[in-house]
Symmetry: C2
């Protein structure tokens, strides 16, 4: 970090440099095909304390990555995707916490994924990359944990698909986290969620430039398919009212009185096209397929007789659950199902349902009530990590702040 920070770096963690961890121990995967060796791209913010009790793991969502806070350079236009929440004095306070943010295995931002070279063939894995489940990510994240010599996370935190990883952590390695923060998430995708994912996948796989996933070998990209996938996804991240307020029926171009010949283009159309085509240039199509499949297959309680309370009975951490009123991808009722299951399992949980018209994307945005509730919770997490703070796992508090 430089001393003379330009103003945009102020208040952020400053300039950060992504790192790569290389693993050579084969990673067993739930599909049965282990990954022999792999890289994980990551960033860290803040300092690990002496007893390594202040570590926080950030789990990212579908199209996220390890760059969650700060800037890669002074020229970078926008900071990491959760810079509003991670930084000195922020909700996830890097003056107190050591924050680890990784790019999930299978991703396309530096971690080994379908666009990486398969050492056995010398070509990109493409469609041959093994399918991944949420638990595989948890296992690969655990290796990162071991790399840093951390034996227990102060908290595992994630929104959307990230929240699913956080919950899976609580079930798979109950002794290794004290807090689980689950934001705008769900215990399982419903038929409508799966349907939207399948539309997106179909758009990608039916693009003739997809070449069965081997587009890299053909030196091309399934741009149109990926753009349509992103467009449909994007609609599900926003609320109906939020879109109405943002775009209404404003025109970008054209004249109604001439109908289609008038070249009418609504603002919302222009916006979606921009989102779609920008995404298609930077995101790997095979990763998109892999990530959406991991979402579809996630089912917290499947191996617990489909009984979420039974699943959560294995957890030993405390939970903080957040939902947003206008989120229709993972609506508040989906979070309340999580809370109900935790209560039924007699686990400590705080829940806040935040009034917001930003839809699913609200979890990324600085919404005062959300910030306040989240900060209050993290203050508690922080207090436990400080000298004299009680690092304990089995408080009995159940606090529904809905």
């Amino acid at each position: 970090m430089k001393n003379n920070q330009p103003s945009k770096l102020k208040g952020s963690v400053g300039i950060v440099t992504p790192q790569i961890a290389h693993f050579t121990d084969p990673l067993p995967l739930s599909c049965g095909r282990p990954l022999a060796a792999y890289d994980i791209a990551y960033e860290t913010y803040g300092q690990l304390n002496a007893d390594k009790s202040n570590a926080i793991l950030i789990c990212h969502a579908l199209s996220g990555h390890h760059h969650a806070a700060g800037y890669h350079s002074e020229d970078e236009k926008r900071p990491g995707w959760w810079d509003q929440y991670i930084g000195p004095g922020k909700v996830i306070d890097t003056n107190h916490f050591f924050v680890l943010s990784i790019n999930n295995l299978g991703g396309c931002h530096g971690s080994t994924g379908p666009s990486s070279i398969d050492p056995t063939t010398g070509k990109p894995y493409g469609p041959d990359f093994p399918s991944l489940r949420c638990r595989d990510w948890v296992d690969s994240q655990r290796r990162m944990m071991q790399l840093f010599g951390i034996s227990q996370w102060a908290a595992v935190i994630g929104g959307s698909l990230g929240g699913m990883q956080a919950m899976r952590w609580a079930l798979e390695y109950p002794d290794e986290l004290r807090h689980c923060v689950v934001i705008a998430s769900a215990m399982v995708l419903n038929a409508q969620n799966i349907a939207f994912n399948e539309v997106a996948r179909t758009a990608i796989t039916s693009d003739p430039h997809f070449y069965g996933g081997r587009y890299a070998e053909h030196d091309t990209l399934p741009r149109h398919g990926l753009a349509v996938a992103r467009m449909v996804g994007h609609i599900t991240y926003l609320s109906e009212d939020g879109m109405g307020e943002k775009f209404g029926r404003e025109l970008k171009a054209g004249d109604f009185s001439l109908g289609q010949d008038g070249g009418v283009e609504f603002q919302v159309e222009s916006y979606l096209h921009h989102q779609g085509s920008a995404f298609a240039e930077v995101f790997d199509a095979n990763t998109y397929l892999l990530m959406t499949k991991a979402l579809d297959y996630f089912d917290l309680a499947r191996e617990y007789d489909n009984d979420p309370a039974r699943a959560f009975s294995h957890a030993k951490c405390q939970f903080f659950v957040v939902s947003f009123t206008s989120d229709w991808r993972f609506a508040p009722k989906r979070s309340r199902e999580i809370v109900d299951a935790l209560v039924a399992a007699n686990k400590p949980v705080s829940y806040v349902e935040v009034e917001a018209n930003h839809g699913h994307d609200a979890f990324l945005l600085p919404i005062p009530r959300y910030q306040k509730a989240f900060a209050a919770y993290m203050h508690r997490v922080k207090a436990e990590c400080e000298p004299g703070g009680a690092v304990q796992q089995e408080t009995a508090e159940v606090n529904h702040a809905g």
Copy 2:
């Protein structure tokens, strides 16, 4: 109609034969490019009475057509799309009403549209077919009315995009209808509605088999794009809960424990693919583009200073408005906006909000409360057409049955 009807014809209007009306008077269109000559495919059910006071116009929705009731042959698997509502003794009772159902201009089921041959070139119109607005359909429907010598509809009835046509009728030709039935519709599309339409259109136009709309000249179809368009549309026709009840997370094939390699396919994925690919074989892509644009551009009050009450002040008919609780394409609040505007304009309106978990598609389905309320309303329409019945346009009743 045959005498020895097989049982499936029982209770329906029986065997019906589509007709074609050929018009040679140029039809002025709102885009400024008239259509020199055109065909309208239509069906009729029931008998026109002596004073021609019992005629009902059915306006179809996005992917609808003229075949609304009965069977084209004994071999036809399914009857017309609204057979549950049109027939002898049914809600739209063909023992009393003469029902005209047409395929909209620009359609692909027999009326002149983009897939028809342009007489000036000898090739299909394709993308050169003039763009259409809701008012153009109303004008072409009015020519059908004149063909039958009808001076006033007993009712103009439509669901979704059909409801928009019905409303436009009430504003454009207020003396020519006594009742306007608007089901699961809206006065204007919102940003989310437009966004979904644009995703569908983008899927179609970015299919390399689209050829800028000239796929017919290349002897091909943009099947993949049209399938994706239908898949995304279909999701918006169903409710989240309805999809959950219908499909849940049931598998069509595969094994979860093997992840993607296990060939897992959810029922909902299989269903959507079937819907998409079946649609792609029978529906014209250019028609889909044209119809969705007509939807996007529809704005009941645009030319009335964006004041719906001012718009409806021109109407002289009575209104029946229906919405369905789980419809999120055109949610009940969109219908309540119609009702509010009608009330503000001091127009007679009955409104019923039907509890149903079928989403937007509910308007096609036999839901008891919907059938009962609709039948009660149509009974009133019927009474006015009978000898001694008062055919009047200016009753003052305002009845909110919400």
